[in-house]
Symmetry: C2
Subunit: 357 residues, 2 copies
DNA sequence: CTGAAAGCGCTTACAG
DNA sequence: CTGAAAGCGCTTACAG
C-alpha cells in the first residue's frame, strides 16, 4: 500500500475480473482458452482488459501455478564468444531455437566459466528451468549436474557430461573418425598426422598447439576429443598428434608445426572443420597445394563457402542435432522418460583429399 | 494427492523447516542470508535440507514473491544463425553476457522471424522478463514493443526500434560514416562507391545485392543503414550505391557488381566489416590489389585476423557496448529511469585504404 | 457456462 | 534471534 506510487503497478487478473463483473476464474479461462466461456463474458473480459491496459496473465504466477517455467537452458562451457566462433556450435544453437519455435518455450543461455565452473551454480540456482542441454563438446564431469539433478531438472547432452542422469544424443565419434582415417589410408597415405581438439581443461587456457602421445589419451577431460583420437589411432597407430584450440588460427598454428617435419606428412586429419580450414591456410602460406601436396580432412560438416576446396569431413548435421536436442528437452520437461540415442552422421568426400603424389 | 506417485515431488521449504523443527520463515532466512539466524538454527536447517535432498528455494516461487524474474531478454530479428554469423553481433551478445556475470540474472534468447514478427509476441507473452534489449540493427518499428510496454517491461535498443519507450544507446551512424568517407576523400579518391546494409525488411528475403538511389533512403526500414547512407552522401553525394546482405558473400557479390563499372571505383565504402571482407575477396578474384588498386573501408571494428590487410573502419567497441546494454537492463530492472545516451566510436585507420594511383 | 475456494512455494513485514 | 500470518498473481478441480 505504501509503495503504490513507487511504480505504476500492473493491473492484475483480479482487477480485470472485477471491472468486467465476472469471477477471476472466468477471466482466467478467457486468457488461457482452456475452458468454455460464453462469447458475451469473453467480450466483457477483453474490454475490461483493454481498458485497464492489461497485457495478459503474469507469466511468473502462471508458472508457479502450473509447475512449469516455460524455459529451457543451454549450458556452454567457456566464453560464449569462444563457443560461438565455431560455426558448428552456432548451427547446433540455431537448431535448438528452431526446435523451440511455436512452443512458447524460451531459451536461456548459460555460460560456464572454464576456470571456475562452480560459479555457474549460483547463477543457475536463481533461474527456473524445465530442462537443460549441454550441446557442446564439454568436459566429462560438470558440477552443475549435481545441482540440477537435485532440483529435478532433466538434462540432455551430446556425450558430456558423462552421468547417468544426463540423457545422451551422441555421434559415435570413434567410428566416425576412423571412417575418415580409413578413407585417407585407402587413398594410399602413410605419413598422416592428427590435429585434435584440446584434451584437458587446462589446455583451454594455454591456447597454443601441443604435441601429445598415446598415454595422454586415456585421461582426457573431453570424451569427444578422446574418442576421435582413438578413431584416428585405430587406423594410424603411429601418426604424430597435436592438440589445438578449435579455431582457424589454432589449426593453422598446429599445421605449421606438423608441416615442419621432414619428411612432412602427406595428409592431416583434424577433429573439426575449422581446424581443417586453418590447415589449408597454413598450406597456402607454405606454398603447398591442397589436395595435391597435402590432403586435409575435417569433422562437423559445417558450411564454409569461402574455402577454396570442399572438405572431406564427417557431417554431423548440426542443425538437425540441435532440433533433436530441443525435442528431447521438451519431452523431458513434459515428464517423459528418454533413453540415450545415437546421432546420425555420414562421411562426406570432398576434394580436399586425394592420393599422395 | 492423487498424483503423488506420478513424479517424485521435490521437497519444499516447508518440509525442510518441519524436519529441522523451525518455522518456514527461519528456514527461508537461512537460504537467502537476508536475516540474522543463529548458527545452530542455520546448521539444523542445512542438515535437514541435505537429508531431504533439497536443492534450494524454488526460483519461480521466489520470483513471484519478489516481483522480479531474474531474467532479461535479447531480441534478435531474423534467424539466430543469420544474426550470429556476424562477428559484431556475436561480440555484442558476448558483452551482454559478460555484463550479466555475477548478477544471478539469466539471459533469454528470443528470435523474431522477419516474415512474421507478430509471432514473437506469443512466445514472449509466456516468459517472465525484467528487461529486454534489441541489440542488433533491427527495423524501425517492432510489434513486440507495444506488448512489452503494456507489461511494463523496460526496453533498451541501439537505435531501433524507434519508440519513446525504448531507451537508446546509439552510435551517431551518420557522423561516423561521414568520418570514414572524409578520410577516403582526403586521400584523393573521387570515384567512390557505397555498399549499404539492406534498407528494407523485404530485402532480407531476397538476399542479392540491389543498386538504389537517394530517393529510397528516406523510407528505409532500418535507421542504422539509413543514417550510414546519409553519412556517405554527406561526402560523396553522387557515388553509386548498392545494398547487400551483411555477410562476406553479400559484400563479395555487391563488389563484383560495382567493380564491373568502367571506369571502376577506386574506393568502396561499406557499412560493415564483413561486407568489406567480401569486397577484398572480390578484388582478389579480379586480380586487384587492396589498397593499391582499390581502397576498402568497413564499419564495426571486429576482429578479422585472417584478413590480408587491417581495415580502415569505425570501431564501435561491440563488447563494451554489450556490457553497457547489460548494465542498462539491470538498472531498468531495478526501476531506475534512464535517458538515451550516445555510444562511443572512433575511426580506425588501417592499411586497406591509400591514395588512388 | 459461471463462481467461490484452495493452494502453487516462497518472502517479508510484524510481533514477540 | 524466532515464529505466525499475509499475500505475490494466477489456475484448477469442484459445485452449482
Amino acid at each position: 500500500m505504501s509503495q503504490v506510487d513507487q511504480a505504476a503497478r500492473r493491473p492484475t487478473l483480479k482487477q480485470v475480473a472485477a471491472r468486467a463483473g465476472v469471477a477471476v476464474s472466468t477471466a482466467s479461462l478467457v486468457f488461457s482458452g482452456r475452458g468454455p466461456v460464453s462469447d458475451e463474458m469473453a467480450a466483457r473480459v477483453r474490454i475490461a482488459a483493454a481498458e485497464l491496459d492489461y497485457a495478459g496473465p503474469d507469466p511468473i504466477a502462471r508458472s508457479l501455478r502450473r509447475g512449469r517455467a516455460g524455459v529451457v537452458g543451454v549450458i556452454g562451457e567457456g566464453t560464449l564468444m569462444q563457443a560461438l566462433r565455431d560455426p558448428y556450435a552456432l548451427g547446433l544453437l540455431d537448431g535448438i531455437m528452431t526446435g523451440l519455435d511455436n512452443t512458447s518455450t524460451g531459451l536461456l543461455l548459460i555460460a560456464q566459466s572454464g576456470s571456475d565452473p562452480e560459479a555457474a551454480i549460483d547463477q543457475i540456482a536463481g533461474t527456473a528451468l524445465d530442462a537443460v542441454a549441454f550441446p557442446l563438446c564439454g568436459p566429462r564431469s560438470n558440477p552443475v549436474v549435481e545441482h540440477l539433478a537435485g532440483r529435478g531438472v532433466p538434462m540432455v547432452g551430446t556425450g558430456a557430461p558423462e552421468d547417468d542422469r544426463v540423457v545422451q544424443l551422441t555421434v559415435d565419434n570413434r567410428a566416425a573418425q576412423a571412417e575418415v582415417a580409413a578413407h585417407v589410408r585407402d587413398l594410399g597415405h602413410t605419413r598422416v598426422a592428427h590435429i585434435a581438439m584440446p584434451l584437458n581443461v587446462a589446455e583451454y587456457a594455454v591456447g597454443t598447439p601441443r604435441p601429445f602421445g598415446p598415454a595422454e589419451v586415456t585421461c582426457s577431460d573431453f570424451p569427444d576429443a578422446q574418442q576421435r583420437v582413438r578413431g584416428f589411432r585405430d587406423v594410424f597407430p603411429d601418426g604424430p598428434m597435436i592438440t589445438a584450440p578449435v579455431s582457424i588460427e589454432g589449426g593453422q598454428a598446429a599445421a605449421r608445426a606438423l608441416l615442419a617435419a621432414d619428411p612432412r606428412p602427406t595428409a592431416i586429419i583434424t577433429q573439426a572443420d575449422t581446424l581443417a580450414a586453418g590447415v589449408i591456410r597454413a598450406a597456402e602460406d607454405l606454398g603447398l597445394r591442397v589436395p595435391d601436396d597435402l590432403s586435409v580432412t575435417g569433422f562437423d560438416g559445417v558450411d564454409l563457402p569461402w574455402l577454396p576446396v570442399t572438405l572431406t569431413t564427417i557431417d554431423q548435421g548440426g542443425q538437425a542435432q540441435g532440433r533433436r536436442l530441443a525435442e528431447m528437452m521438451l519431452a523431458l520437461a513434459r515428464g517423459e522418460k528418454l533413453a540415450d540415442e545415437p546421432a546420425p552422421y555420414r562421411l562426406l568426400i570432398g576434394n580436399s583429399t586425394t592420393a599422395p603424389r
